[in-house]
Symmetry: C2
Subunit: 347 residues, 2 copies
């Protein structure tokens, strides 16, 4: 089969590798139907040191189960499944509480810990298949919902996590920092949770237009002090009660502190590309809360699925380009150049 590998910053290649095989009785083999490239894949695309053996890529996919280990009981060959971006057993104390990303027997795709490649491949060995995969009955490979179902692997659940950990509720004022796919999904989630004012901070008109479709009431293209002034102007000088930060770079965090109201919450779902940052008096003195993290999307899929299937939401619109597996290197380049918002891979 074919799979994508990254060998260094900017160096993505598609190679022929052996098909995956079952290794543990809790494994499943999934033939990938749709996969995609994530904004977070661009972080190594900018910074990965030269890696002679290459690293497998991708962590979002939907597909069809081809084989299951002897201990797999909840899914079976032929099932159409959604794979969340983290592997989880579904039974440990963290999974039972809904924090699947801290699963005691789980891990992240492409991580040596779980020893399997991610979704930018024609097939994937899925550890802890019973806990990890969600079967969706009645979905065929020609379903009109494939793109939206694929967002449940990561970006929709991640946007939902941002809004949920920020405790967005009826009548809330919210700002979303970043107009990437996760930012747009955070807009959608805030809208679904009842936010009244949703300010989307982004400067790419096609994206912010889609953000308006998902529920943004205002768009602020300015950044830095100008952006802060604009958000404050839109909120009676006070700032918003909830900031959903969907970028991960330090300026986005600093922007978030500038636009949040005293007593408010900054929820980050962009993977931070920094270690230390300001949490001294300018943060503390205003009684701010910092929350968020990698989304336990596994726990959100059942909740978000019905609205996807009945068409009342259409998160799949974040995919504005579809490519084949051989074009994955070009897909990275297009997302990096911001020519594409989010690239779907059709296998």
């Amino acid at each position: 089969m074919k799979a994508a590998f990254m060998y260094a910053a900017g160096d993505v290649r598609v190679e022929e590798v052996p098909d995956p095989v079952l290794k543990a009785p809790t494994d499943a083999i999934v033939r990938v139907v749709r996969s995609c490239i994530c904004g977070s894949d661009l972080h190594p695309y900018h910074s990965l040191p030269a890696t002679p053996e290459g690293t497998t890529m991708g962590h979002e996919f939907v597909g069809v189960v081809e084989d299951t280990g002897s201990e797999v009981s909840s899914i079976r060959k032929g099932d159409f499944v959604i794979a969340p971006f983290a592997v989880s057993d579904g039974t440990c104390e963290f999974c039972r509480e809904g924090l699947h990303t801290s699963c005691l027997h789980g891990g992240f795709w492409n991580d040596p810990g779980i020893g399997t490649q991610g979704g930018q491949a024609e097939a994937v060995r899925v550890p802890q298949a019973d806990g990890t995969l969600v079967a969706v009955p009645g979905i065929g490979e020609d379903s009109a919902h494939l793109a939206s179902l694929l967002t449940l692997s990561d970006v929709y659940g991640t946007g939902w996590h941002a809004a949920r950990t920020a405790r967005v509720g009826e009548g809330d004022t919210v700002a979303v920092v970043g107009d990437g796919a996760v930012g747009l999904m955070a807009v959608l989630a805030a809208k679904q949770l009842g936010a009244e004012q949703i300010i989307l901070m982004g400067r790419h008109k096609a994206r912010t237009d889609l953000g308006r479709e998902y529920g943004a009431t205002d768009v602020v293209a300015e950044r830095g002090d100008e952006g802060i002034a604009k958000v404050r102007e839109l909120t009676g000088g006070r700032g918003v009660r909830k900031v959903l930060e969907a970028v991960g770079h330090l300026p986005a965090y600093e922007q978030s502190l500038g636009i949040v109201r005293d007593g408010g919450t900054v929820s980050r779902v962009g993977v931070p590309q920094y270690a230390d940052a300001q949490i001294g008096w300018p943060f503390f003195g205003r009684n701010l809360t910092l929350t968020g993290g990698p989304a336990p999307v596994r726990g959100y899929i059942e909740q978000l699925l019905p609205a996807v299937l009945d068409g009342s939401v259409d998160p799949g619109k974040v995919f504005d380009r579809t490519i084949g597996i051989d074009e994955v290197p070009a897909g990275y380049a297009a997302m990096d150049a911001r020519e594409a918002l989010k690239v779907m891979i059709r296998m």
Copy 2:
């Protein structure tokens, strides 16, 4: 009257100054009955640069109203009152939401913004008297409750804030970092809110003994990696769900990250003596929440008062030394040398 001034690190003096007078129609003059020295007063005691004009000190006091401005309506001459550590008007949008420390017309004692000295003085001009002061009917200057009432100025409300912002609830596992007065009050608050396991981290036996009286189920004297290992040992390897950080120095924050369970919350009420600190992947990846801040104690007084007055709690035990105003410099030295837990000043 006499008032304490700090002129530099370690240099506290008591001086004769003019009695305060009403300046605004919303002011009151309060004759101080009891005041005290705060753990946070030790921060400038360690670091204040030479200040030729000196700075007034103190932010906790109870006393008797001597005079009120023409617009003061809810308190009157002769009332026994508690003064929270922040001035607030009680009517702005933040006060109405219970975030009195962000009051649009408030401020902190000894701050040029509100232009009045704090509680380490025989009398104080209180701005925004209606919003700031809480009258307690039936309390005389010989009341047995004076010490406990004084804790409602700051430390009890601050410990309560730590537990409340961490959302401590029934059956929770909690660790309190720091065995100062605020840490001990955080133990009491966690107990009142239903925590099942309360681990107090501190190494001063007299203090941790009082902590056990307030509800600590375990005491960990070790610090750093050893302390982290000990707390994890006490919690099945996972850490506690809620950490109440009552110190303010960077190692206490780092300790907090080490002992908190994935998905848990660190609530800080120790004023951070640092600006930047770790909030990168080691924080984000575990879905931690950071919250807390200066406590809006004004909003907690009515709630905490009944248990103080009926004697079911005795927060006043944190005062283990009582001095007169002339002994304030010695009081600072005693707290700094950890000979005294918290020093009360009897006027």
